[in-house]
Amino acid sequence: MTTPSNDSGAGLLRLHPDGTASRGSRILGIVVLVGSVLFLYVALVASKPDESLDAMGQLVRIMYVHVPAAIACYLAFFVTAVASAMYLWKRTTGWDALAASSAEIGVVFTALTLLTGSIWGHTTWGTWWEWDPRLTSTALMFVLYIGYLALRRAIIDPVSRAKQSAILGIIAFANVPIVHYSVDWWRSLHQTATVASLDPQIDGLRLFALFLGMILAMLLYAWLLLHRFRLEFASQALEAKGLDYALQERRAEGRADAAEVAATAAPALDAEEVR
């Protein structure tokens, strides 16, 4: 494999020698940056505030971040579930690294969803938290996947860690619809129609802003996953590398022990012949 020719291409394409960047990830990074600028322009400047019935005015712009973030975290946890299933099937460390990376990114996006949802709640209901079904099930999912990351940290043996977190990765995702369904149903009993009326009438440039936000969230997720996966893969390779070293060390220790045992065993053997 040729080492990357670092000096080729414009300064932008010069990659840090040790980093997890590559030509592909750098290009994707540039696309994401350009997309962000465009998105900010459309979301904050170009699109008009919402003047419909119960106008939310400028506040509709919060939705352009909140909704894409929510979708991105579901995507991330879906990828974790698929990668976990693939690990159980194929048993290659790549799938395990992918599951772990996607879960961590999912947790970050969930945090962002909760944060923007809370700000959104404060603007409309005056409280920092509102028992909106989507927000509530997102909070439950947040704790569950923090538990997933905690489980990974709690297991030392790489194979055992991969297998147990793969199973949890699948079960946790199987839980998302159940939690979602029961919370929605629970709130629909108590909350009359307040939620329905709040979805602002989104059309024209506003719809484009939301659409652009979703695309940007996907690209951002992909870029983050690319880097986070390589980081995870490299650190697992490093763990394994320590293994070969430990194997050599163990064998050296073995030779030393054998010599020492041979030295002590010699007289004992003679005693045995005598008996």
């Binding site: 430990a246 073995g254 030779r255 020492e260 045992v261 004992a268």
Partner: protein, 232 residues
Amino acid sequence: MDAVVRFRAAVCLLGRFPALAGVDLDVAPGEIVLLQGPNGAGKTTLLRACAGLVPVTEGEATVLGVDLVADRRPVRPLVGVLGHRTGLYDDLSVAENVRFWSRAGRSRVADADAALARLGLDGRLADVPVAMLSAGQRRRTALAILVARRPRLWLLDEPHAALDQDGRDLVDRLMTDAVGAGATVLFASHELDRARAVAHRTVTVAGGTVSGLLDGAVAAPAAEPAGEVPVA
């Protein structure tokens, strides 16, 4: 009959520590083989590997015809393991423990009761909760479960530990009786003089490596480490 245990350059990992870094071992049917070596040499891991409790990640490992590298679980019902930890429920009595583990291991209740009597646990001790037993009595209970199981391969980790004098004599008798009845015994011990008296052959375990082949058996080419300079 081919070897009961056949290891060639076998490697076992405990987490990231290579507890076994290259084992060549043969145990023929009806043999009593003693594993000797310093603490941490890998004796316990080797016994657990034979029992299918630890994955063999490299090399060949076959016990009682079961290829441990492919799937190590089928060997488990065929072996009897006695380790430092006795695997008993503290809240259950001696008899309840032996009966539960015997029925769990598919052996007959008659064998369980016979084993209790054999280990001298059928009297007052039978109904004592295991939590209140001494280490020696706990080990006798674990031995009773093993005897009731009538395994084809006995895997004993320091069987004499925590036993009194006649307890140790009893262990030696159990081993010779079992072999007499067609089983095979692989055990680790630090009481070398007593252990050598009963063992047919002694194998040294050092630094996770073993060379205990029967004469005439061919050792696998020693797996050369990758020779890569470890990155600081």
